[in-house]
Symmetry: C2
Subunit: 560 residues, 2 copies
């Protein structure tokens, strides 16, 4: 593995998250009526980096990038698909999980970011099942081990072939001294509600569980003999499809390759530009307002396809965040800016709101929601700067409540009018965080008066004083202080320990209720990150490092 | 600091958690009517270990052991106390938090266990305010920094002196590259509901906040000028006292020094014996049934005082768990056993249940609840073995649902009758976990039929087959297999990575709803543990190590 260093700004291997089915090496999609089958047949000779082979349908980031792409495409390009069946294209093995040699040779940073992206894709699978009418099930036609079973756990129905061999397992603890860290522990007890003592047994049995016991323990939903397996998969898939509200005679929109131009210090997407300040260790994501009026109706949205501004912006931010996470680790602070005509943003906002029951608009809003959630769990400091000429309106205003702090300039810098922000109804329900709340509900958790007040302000242009008064921004420096304040702010933030900031932000961002998602990103990921730092796993004599060498790990026996 | 090694079974410094006010070096208690004042005046020359001075009311484990003792005593010995005021006995400083040089020189294991115990004591303070009618407030007559402010956050009312200097702060991130990890981050946003962007600012400002801004940001409840401070503290304390339901004319019971005899492989308390198997890396906590019949009524309980069996057992388990955590780090598996007359346990159980509205019985049940919670968050594997002669009845049966797995012998080993277990009403409400649920609600989270069935079984003696059928135990090996199964079980568990087990158990034990407590032990502690392993904090050039040396920490700038 070409380790992605935590310290250099020139990662050896740069990841590109853009792909398409005709470029897939590990997955294929087959569609039959309302049922899509997503077939995993990992090409062991096409690892993302050197140094390991992807045997037994094990995966690395390259495999997961394709899965992410497939999940996205099925939603947008295939309105007719109502059930997605995950299954394996190789013999006797559904998926062996994350490739262990890849993990053993990766940097701490890569391990953490790989797990986070993998988690996000599994969450996106659940999002599709729960909110999009495209329900995932897993046809376990072979063993699902570790991350393979975790992938299956993200689907709503697990059917296991009853062939005397195929099993589900989470062998990470006994085999590798790490956790089933991409949702496994959480989903076993909190989603599937496996009894905790049985879960403890299951997670320490390398070979896992099969047959009737796997059903009795709630680890799978059904076992089916080989002779009846394919027919039963089809039957169940059609049964799940029958409950969907997806449309029957729509053509969907094609997710054309995301346009991106890149040079040393700038990345340009349609409507989004990312500027990199490596010396100052920050990156600025500037989102531009639409350059044309909103289409009149859903037909107009369909006609525009990926050029439709809210979708184009979501795709660009999504890609930018992933790029920054994996390829620019030293940019510790991300700054969100906007520019352009706020009236136009408001019009797009209203178009989405008034058509939110349409399947495509729902997909666009859900995608925006997932993208903003990706920002929430990005372990970088996030600031928003509201300057003259900006357009923090509605969906873009939500970014003000996603970031760690927001600064709004009170006054003018040139002849552009002073900044104003505007809330719309989209800020009060369409864009929820992982904790299940809107960002304004989260912001005003203990302060229902402020939440009510914000609702009363819908539609009004709020200048700096009004926004501060309503609790919608953190600070409002005036035009004389602005540049100095911003400079000092960025310098100060860059002087802090990146790890301490990551831990602090992870604890402050998700107040209120916990959900599967927040438990996975909060509790489970934090413990896994700790273990990824412990010599028992990641040290030279640790289990992760020694796996496959024939040598046994040597453990420090002290319990911490 | 005499570091407590993670690897040796002969820790250099052995902690004793037994103390009493006449032995306190750092705290004093002053009682005036319904108000107790708990005064912190840390003796800087009495650190727990060598190598640092406890300046500016900073604390180490020795200071916190006294606080824990004081909190316990106020509840049991002083029924008349309805408000407890935390304040400082030194000038201009309430508390500077955990001693940094102590932290910098401690082993990872000690840091983690120190924070956990500190968290538990803060939770016990909240437990007292919320459930015991003994409400804590803080009279901040000086600055509260870091852990000092975190201590104040555990109280229900924070009054800050308005003297132009005294502030509250959480300077850990900018100063030490670690988190405010004993509840600070969680309580700021989840308990006090400080807006998240303001919390972000607050946690990066070394000097903290004072005066009106501290009130406006919800960091304290009130500021009071020096001239009026004492009078206002008294007034508020009396006001809080007025809402209490604690009795007026009771004398309480004295927490006499816990009896404990110890030799190399055994610790003996009244009714509890701990056996240490260092070669096998396990410890067995055996709880014995009462040796006499239950008293007839509450007067009888009072007369028995700390000899009253449920209280004696709670104290012994409490002390045993703390001892094992700090002084026996290599004993990775704790085994719970019971022995004696289950009928007697049932009679004590019924005595508690039928008098649960009495203040003393309430205290005893709450103490048992806190003790069992301490078991829940103890980072050791926990098993229960139900053998012939055991008495897992009611309150003791709850331990079967606290442990990671339970094994019940189906059959006889000698002439003693086969084991049986029995549920009582205490299993359905009196003993809640940190997640707010009973252990049976947690166990049967997705299975209300099993929960209902368990309720129907109240009072019945359940043999192994019946217990297994009801889902109350994990496995029921027969008498032929028993010894081999148990031996293999313990050997297998001891072969796993201690870190992976800690992470796994922390994720499986707390399903369902999250609370302040589970967020603190799950999310916050896990992130802090990660940071405690990161070179930016704990490395030789890390901020925690270099604090006070005049050298600046060197940070790896990669964000993970």
């Amino acid at each position: 593995m070409q380790a992605i260093s935590e310290t250099t700004d020139k990662p050896a291997a740069r990841l590109d998250f853009r792909t398409a089915p005709d470029a897939y090496r590990h997955w294929s999609i087959s569609i039959d009526g309302p049922v899509a089958t997503l077939i995993m047949a990992v090409d062991e000779d096409s690892p993302f980096a050197d140094g390991y082979e992807l045997k037994l349908n094990s995966y690395d980031i390259g495999v997961d990038v394709e899965l992410y792409d497939a999940v996205q495409r099925l939603r947008f390009e295939h309105p007719e698909v109502r059930t997605v069946v995950l299954t394996s294209g190789i013999d006797a093995m559904f998926c062996a999980g994350a490739n262990i040699r890849m993990l053993g040779s990766s940097s701490h940073s890569h391990k953490v970011n790989f797990c986070k992206f993998t988690n996000e894709t599994r969450n996106a699978i659940e999002d599709s099942s729960l909110r999009s009418g495209q329900t995932y099930m897993t046809a376990l036609n072979g063993t699902a081990a570790g991350g393979g079973y975790e992938l299956a756990l993200a689907t709503e129905y697990l059917m296991l072939i009853d062939d005397g061999n195929s099993a589900v397992s989470l062998p990470e603890v006994p085999l590798l001294a790490v956790l089933p860290g991409t949702g496994g522990l959480t989903r076993v007890v909190d989603k599937r509600k496996v009894r905790r003592d049985l879960a403890d047994v299951f997670c320490t049995v390398e070979e896992g569980m099969k047959g009737q016991r796997a059903v009795d323990w709630r680890l799978v939903d059904e076992i089916v003999p080989r002779s009846k397996f394919d027919a039963r998969v089809r039957e169940k898939a059609l049964q799940l499809a029958a409950t969907s509200d997806r449309p029957e005679n729509e053509s969907g929109i094609r997710l054309k390759r995301l346009e991106r131009e890149q040079d040393k210090d700038e990345i340009r997407y349609p409507f989004v530009t990312v500027t990199l300040d490596r010396a100052g260790r920050s990156g600025t994501i500037e989102i531009m307002a639409p350059d044309r009026d909103a289409p009149a109706d859903v037909d107009g949205i369909e006609a525009e396809g990926v050029s439709f501004w809210p979708l184009a912006v979501s795709r660009a931010i999504d890609d930018a965040l992933l790029h920054l996470r994996f390829n620019e680790p030293i940019l510790g602070t991300l700054i969100i800016k906007t520019s352009g005509d706020g009236q136009r943003v408001a019009a797009y906002d209203e178009l989405l709101r008034s058509n939110r029951d349409n399947w495509l608009v729902r997909e666009i809003l859900l995608y925006m929601q997932r993208t903003f959630k990706r920002l929430d769990v990005t372990s970088r400091t996030t600031f928003a700067f509201v300057e003259p000429g900006s357009c923090f309106v509605g969906m873009l205003a939500d970014l003000l409540f996603a970031v760690d702090r927001s600064y709004m300039l009170d006054g003018q810098l040139d002849d552009r009018p002073a900044a104003s922000i505007r809330l719309t109804e989209l800020n009060f329900g369409a864009l929820r965080m992982s904790n299940g709340l809107t960002r304004l509900e989260t912001r005003f958790l203990g302060d229902s008066a402020s939440l009510k007040n914000a609702q009363d302000l819908i539609g009004q242009g709020l200048d700096a004083a009004a926004a501060l008064d309503a609790g919608l921004v953190t600070y409002t420096p005036d035009d004389i202080d602005w540049e100095d304040e911003i400079r000092l702010l960025l310098e100060e933030r860059a002087s802090f320990s990146p790890d301490a900031l990551t831990g602090m932000e992870a604890n402050l961002r998700f107040v209120g209720p916990e959900t599967l998602e927040t438990k996975i990103f909060g509790r489970l990921s934090a413990w896994q990150n700790w273990i990824f730092q412990r010599p028992n796993a990641a040290g030279d004599s640790g289990a992760l490092k020694l796996y496959g060498t024939g040598k046994r790990a040597k453990y420090d026996r002290g319990r911490v």
